[in-house]
Symmetry: C2
Subunit: 155 residues, 2 copies
DNA sequence: TAATTACCAAGTGAATTACTAGGTAATACA
DNA sequence: TGTATTACCTAGTAATTCACTTGGTAATTA
């Protein structure tokens, strides 16, 4: 699975939409302001999100974007797939002449990893993130319990 | 964690080295031939691997590359970190002015994912892959049991 | 001394990223 | 009806990365 900053931008923008879209549509100009992403780049991202029905645009004054479905029905994987396409790590579908060699071994490895990442992201919805944020606001400034092991440089 | 084709090339090359390096050093020319990677690109990758002591070069006729340590001591994460650098998904180390907003929420998400991927790859060694290959060779042409759920397009 | 190998530096076309510029189309409101 | 506001669309661009090519130098073997 492709994991680029582009996908991160899209997730961030969608989360902004989920958090601020309770009382009407959110304009790209607002998201641009909030998240520091250029308006035109957002337009491109949202064109892709619209194609997958993850958002719904409303034109004219007072317009903007709504989520295309409920936040609980939108997984992070959905969002990333929409903007990044789903690039297969391996290109031989097992059929090629690389069986048994180092090449196909890494193919299997990458397939497994790809599933791992996908499952992780498919099991987290926008709704989950929103609730995580509410929890954070409730406990005021106290930090969330985060993953303990820092994965800094394996030197 | 950065997951590019570059890292995949490196893993593939290292695996080739582990599989064929039993009876002496393996030349980059051989790996280039086996894996279809250009010689000079391999040289660049191996310069990075050498810096992390993952491989050891021997010059002159009959020279080539050895693994820098035993295959069991080299994790896939080690290899990828060597050639891809470890790019943090988040840039604010938690300290920035994005706490509570959509931006920091996705930061936490990406940190978690990063750990997930790292742990997956850190728990697989080159030795594991080699043994997986031997197992494959033993059962001749019968395919390995692979991950069941295909993660093809979430449409 | 010559061949072979690692090792090193610079440059390149293609792709991607994040962005700018410059539009058109639909809608709300005066 | 006209104007502002928003989404929507197309093209182009500087910076970066990828995978590679070119053209070397350094160490070792025979």
């Amino acid at each position: 699975m492709r994991l680029s900053t582009k996908g991160r931008y899209a997730v961030t923008a969608m989360l902004d939409l989920a958090l601020n879209g309770k009382n009407g549509p959110v304009t790209l100009a607002e998201i641009s302001e909030n998240q520091g992403i250029s308006l035109s780049y957002l337009e491109q991202l949202f064109a892709a999100l619209r194609n997958k029905d993850l958002v719904r645009g409303v034109r004219g004054p007072g317009g903007g974007y709504y989520l295309g479905k409920s936040a609980d029905e939108i997984s992070i994987a959905n969002i990333i797939c929409a903007v990044d396409e789903w690039v297969e790590f391996t290109r031989c579908g097992g059929r090629q002449n690389c069986s048994g060699g180092a090449r196909c071994l890494t193919h299997t490895l990458w397939d497994d990893l790809s599933s791992e990442i996908f499952n992780f992201l498919a099991n987290i919805s926008l709704g989950d993130l929103v609730r995580r944020n509410l929890g954070k606001k409730e406990e005021e400034e106290r930090p969330l319990s985060v993953v303990g092991d820092s994965n800094s440089q394996a030197a």
